[in-house]
Amino acid sequence: MFILPEVGQAPPPVAAPPALLRLQGMSKRFGSLQALEDVSLEIAAGEIHCLLGENGAGKSTLCNLIFGVYQADSGSMQLAGADYRPSGPADALSMQVAMVHQHFSLVPDLSVVDNLLLGQARGVLRRSECAERVQALSQRFGLQIDPWLRISDLSVGERQRVEIIKCLMREPRLLVLDEPTAVLLPDEIAALLEVCQRVAAEGCGVVLVTHKLAEIQKVAQRATVLRGGRVAARSEQPAADLDALVQAMIQRSGEARTSPAAPSYQREAAGQPRAEPALMIDGVSVKDADGVTRLDNFTLIVEPGEIVAVAGVEGNGQSELAAVISGMRPASQGRLFVKGRELTGRSPRQITAAGVGVVPEDRHAVGCVSGMSVAENLFLDRLHRFSRYGLLDRKRMRAAALELMQRFDVRAASPDVSFAGLSGGNQQKAVLARELTLDGLSFLLAAQPTRGLDVGAVEAVYEHIRAVCAQGVGVLLISSELDELLKVADRVVVLYRGRIVGSCTAEPGERARIGAWMAGQAA
């Protein structure tokens, strides 16, 4: 059965197993923004409870309250019947409540083992003993990891695994995961969900924040939808209620989102007279600091109006490819052309000037300056527009920012708020807005553009990409989500160990082949 409660009404006790964690009337505001309001919720031992909602709905904030990162302004929590008021993560951990954050909390210049021992061990370190425990856990939950590697040498997916192992080592009663799958590959996701199920099977409560309906369908025993910081809906059998859940989640601004993914544009694009290729990469190779070849003789042409997807398991050269195209890193070999103009070894500035838009994979590192306002971030690469004799016209900039935020549905109190205050998803949308509106945009590089975005937002992003593509912009889409690239792209090339191991048109039928290529089973 599916319920749309008056918000705040306590959840029905019916059929619910004994509550492990009970939240009542939890509220939290950040400055002027009410991030959570009067949220009540129950998590039972041994259940997987999915938390969904659009970007900025308050999911992470709720998680952070449970884990004691923030304290609630009002409301109360009980853990296994007893009053639960964590003063901080330490407190939460001591009561066997563990959390995996979207933004990893690992020490990059330490080994996996040291990261696991951090805060756990006392006195003299017994590293090898810990390494053995890791091996054991890896076996038990199928999380492969080399305990002696430095975090900085691990791929995003691997880091995620470390985070999860970190939690599991504490034998938690309640495990909170904030969008753990956003950065994972299909097979990794499957593995993770299985981990969740095993953990739950051992009697532990699991809170899973996700934007991916497939996952809810697969593992959720119950689901709660947040909207604007309030509980918008609950479901006792999410798998059945999916559509209703989505509705509840994105009710507010319906139609723009739920428009079908009509790939009509692409046909036109294909039909266009052959112009200069939007992007031509000719035999580009990249060696890293240690001389290891990360990208090997990569050659690719993207026609105007074409969307080419680069598939592949993370860490197979995608980052290097993106870095070279965006000019952040020189190629040790090969040449790069955009619209017939050679851009080999040019600076990011020159490349941007040549009409190359880039949605970077890691928005926190390269995508934005989180210390600056939203408006400043939206126009950082084109401030000259608002400059007269070197002086900055903030009024005009603000107005332009507002316009852009509406167009791309970036939700923030105002253009002047700190970018860091935006929810992760909204941050991503802002970056997209900037890159897609680059003047003279002739080629777009989009790396994991929808990571961390809710269903509605994802659709919107695809819309935008298709739109620019319709105007004859060539798009290179780097993604590790098969569904995504099959849905959006015209053509798929697969990267494995820095080489293109396969290439095909993007049709559902190819799914198996692509998967095989990604796994390194050369065609």
């Binding site: 500035r349 590192a365 989180s370 210390g371 600056m372 950082l380 401030l383 070197g390």
Partner: protein, 364 residues
Amino acid sequence: MSTLLIKQPAALLAFLKARPAMWIAFLAVAAALLIGLLLVHLIGVPIGDAVAAFAEGAWGSPYAIAASINRSLVFALVGLGFVLADRANLTNVGGEGQIAIGGIVATAVSLYGHVSDLPFGLAFLLPLLAASLAGGLWGGLAGVLKARAGTNEVIATLLLSFIAVWMVYGSVQSVALLRQPMTHSNTLPESLEIPDPTKLPLLTDDYSMPLHSGLLFGFALAIVVALVLNKTVFGLRLRAVGLNPLAARRAGIAISASVVGVLFAAGALGGLAGACMLQGEQYSLKAGFSSGYGFDGLVVGLLARGSVVGVIAGALLFGFLRSGGINMEMVAAVPTALVVVIQGLIIVILAGAALSMQRWEVER
């Protein structure tokens, strides 16, 4: 009558209420001075005498005021340089060295640059310019090291300071360099006095109030720096570079150029400060002429927390404090060490109060 007496402080309070951050800064300084007076009392000096002596020395005479302001000018120039670089998240602790270099070059050009006969005040303008340039290069060097080798600028500028200071010592040791001709065996290791045309013209008619024209440059530059920081695209770009170099680079901002450029600017301000000390007051180069003003200027810049107004306020505070201190010691026999203590207290307390100032500013 009584109402009049009340009005003024009331006005002051209203003024401060409108600017909570200043309010706190004001309190911090007041607190430091109070503790200072307490110490004076403990040392056994009648507080009345001390305060009187302080006031007399700080602003008791036109000369005192001028001397204080000339000193503040130096602090302010260095402080401006600091906040400028600070915007790009670069900490320039090299003021002392930039002053020293500025002094050396100003002396060299004034004495041996054949500038004395030039018209339109070029005689003193060229040395100023050369000094600023040299200071700029000295600061820029730290920038180059940062851009090329990733050298931490705090340490680079600090080391460059020590080196520059000893360069002054060396340059006045040998006649081949800047030392005055050895007329006899105990000619002091100092440069000759620079020719009159190269001295900064006084804004007043004589030395009873030796305000020199460097002050005008000071004002002009303060305005320029304020504009650059708050109103220009360049200022915003610097901020981006400071907060996230990678993203800034992605957005097409030239990181290395910004780093070198802004440190050059900071250095140039330091060099100018050195030239002002030499051409405006001391007139001849001696080992240790920089007198640690570079570090006072650094503190001024640090306490200003990015605001030009803050720089000016801090510079004036320290400039007058020093003047008052000298006289307090002379007249009321308050030990210099105590004045040093008070200065330290002000810095520490202001630094400690900074957080609450930020809180206030965020509120508004």
